[in-house]
Amino acid sequence: MSLDALYQEIILDHYRRPHHAGLREPYDAETRHVNPTCGDEITLRVHLSGTTAGDTVADVSYDAEGCSISQASVSVMSDLVIGKPVADAMTLHDEFLTLMQGRGAVEPDEDTLEDAVAFAGVAKFPARIKCALLGWMAWKDAVAQATRAPMSKEETA
């Protein structure tokens, strides 16, 4: 089994130098997700430039402890979704999820997924899929919270 198919250079680069890391203000929702098998955790904040689903992902910031796959995945995800309309970002989420659940049979679209295509190999390592999805799940949850009931920072803190 080729390790390099899993650990693409892009993944290792993001792992060593994660983008958008650290928790920032302002934000509309904050979530905390745990991978129960290994205990890895992520706290993620989403700031939307409005509060309805038609609006844009203004910022994603996070504090995460985890393996190379989970760390790189949240870094790549932040690059992808920041600045995108929420609906488009959600489509990317769905596309990434399909890729992860595709057992390696799904051909990723580089035009939309960009650096996230590097995770295509993860789909062949069932134990690692949860790692790649941790950040995305936390993000989706945060967006749902932010669009459902806009919260003040005090409530979410």
């Binding site: 650990y7 290792l12 290994c38 890895d40 393996c67 796959i69 390592f125």
Partner: protein
């Protein structure tokens, strides 16, 4: 190593042992041999156990204890013979003290459950305390948390020293007149520590508390005499001692099994049932509601026979030698630190470690590409990881079939991990 241990390793032929385990001959991806270092998670199974399962289903399958026909007699005799074998294996004089469950988790839940329902002095209630330790497997934490939440009792625990031993300095403040139960792992599945269960049991009995020992990692590795531990209950699990999954054991002192109420209700655990109420069969049947895991129990009997054939002193000596070798190997790699005792003294075969700068998932992924199977994560011991300031670790756990060459492959693999992630 004591002279007894040296004597016991002489004549222990690990290659002959390995020949009994078909899976050890299989090849993994890229035609790599399997280096199985995840035995604290579950052990591999020898031919003798596989054959017992197969023969039961092929020739003797029937339900037990309720059929008046030849197959029923055969299956019942085999099931009860397995109970007697397991009893002897752990030094229990009375097979009725061996209750078959589905695993150690169920055994521990059984004890915690019935203590909430007990009549009289054994009942755990408000104001009572349950004492555990910070190195427990979640299976010996959560049932007690549930018991305390449901009854208003208070959970307390022994902390750990930096070396990964129980901090017994506050024992007199911890085990008091209020203590109703003390439940402790004999051998830690994460730190490897062997705990002084007999000393703790003595102290607990002075205050009238019940003593539960989680023997899940001890029974596979050490010669065990349940009564000698001073415990009232000892829980263990078949799949870690070369037996099948789906079978566990709760050994309990007979008078307690008689006194305490049932856990699950159903067929086979009753004396008589009327619509107005029921009475219970004597133990162990009282705690074995429904059709039990028959084949699995018979498989566990075969596993106990297999271990007895090797001799548990020899198994323990082999484990000790391999653990010392593993610790030595890990010590030789810079940037690797072992969690738990770093010398093979009062120490079982599970060795958890951290590789600086590389997450355990990534460590085990790279090791797996060389055929080395280890565990990565919290090993169901989150509080113990937290105690040592880490979220997770990598664990190598050897067993009676592990060779020094395999440990060399592990050590070599960790060097490759460090190179791959550029931390070397």
């Amino acid at each position: 190593m004591t002279t007894g241990m040296i004597a016991a390793t002489v004549g222990y032929d690990v290659e002959r042992v390995r020949a009994d385990f078909p899976i050890l001959a299989r090849r993994l991806a890229d035609d790599r041999p399997l280096v199985y270092l995840d035995s604290a998670n579950t052990s591999q199974k020898p031919e003798q156990v596989l054959r017992a399962l197969d023969e039961h289903y092929r020739w003797r399958n029937s339900n037990v204890g309720r059929a008046v026909h030849q197959l029923g007699d055969a299956a019942t005799a085999d099931y009860e013979a397995a109970r007697a074998t397991v009893a002897t294996f752990v030094g229990a004089t009375d097979p009725a003290e061996v209750v078959f469950t589905k695993n150690a988790s169920e055994s521990l839940n059984l004890v915690a459950g019935v203590l909430a329902w007990a009549d009289g002095a054994r009942r755990v209630g408000p104001g009572d305390e349950v004492v555990i330790t910070e190195m427990e497997h979640h299976s010996n934490i959560v049932p007690w948390q549930l018991l305390c939440e449901r009854t208003g009792a208070t959970l307390r625990w022994f902390g750990l020293t930096d070396e990964g031993r129980l901090d017994l300095s506050g024992v007199d403040a911890l085990i008091t007149e209020r203590t109703k139960v003390v439940s402790v792992a004999w051998v830690s599945n994460m730190l490897g520590t062997v705990n002084p269960v007999a000393d703790i049991a003595r102290r607990a009995h002075e205050v009238g508390a019940l003593v539960v020992v989680d023997g899940s990692q001890a029974v596979p590795q050490l010669p065990v005499d349940v009564a000698g531990t001073g415990a009232d209950f000892v829980a263990f699990t078949g799949h870690k001692m070369v037996g099948p999954t789906g079978i566990g054991v709760l050994w309990g002192r007979r008078e307690l099994l008689e006194e305490l109420p049932p856990f699950l209700g159903g067929g086979s655990m009753i004396e008589t049932v009327r619509m107005e109420g029921s009475t219970w069969a004597p133990p162990p049947a009282k705690y074995e509601a429904g059709t039990p895991p028959i084949a699995e129990a018979i498989g566990l009997g075969a596993a106990a026979d297999y271990l007895s054939g090797l001799g548990m002193a020899a198994v323990a000596a082999h484990e000790h030698a391999i653990t010392a070798y593993t610790l030595e190997g890990l010590r030789s790699i810079s940037g690797v630190s072992v969690l738990g005792p770093t010398e093979a003294v009062d120490r079982g075969g599970a060795v958890s470690f951290v590789v600086d700068g590389v997450h355990p998932h990534d460590v085990s992924q790279v090791l797996d590409s060389y055929g080395v199977a280890v565990r990565a994560g919290h090993h169901c011991a989150k509080p113990a990881h937290r105690r040592f300031g880490v979220q997770s670790s990598t664990r190598a756990s050897a067993y009676l079939y592990t060779t020094k060459t395999e440990i060399d492959t592990l050590v070599d693999g960790i060097h490759r991990v460090r190179k791959y992630f550029k931390v070397a």
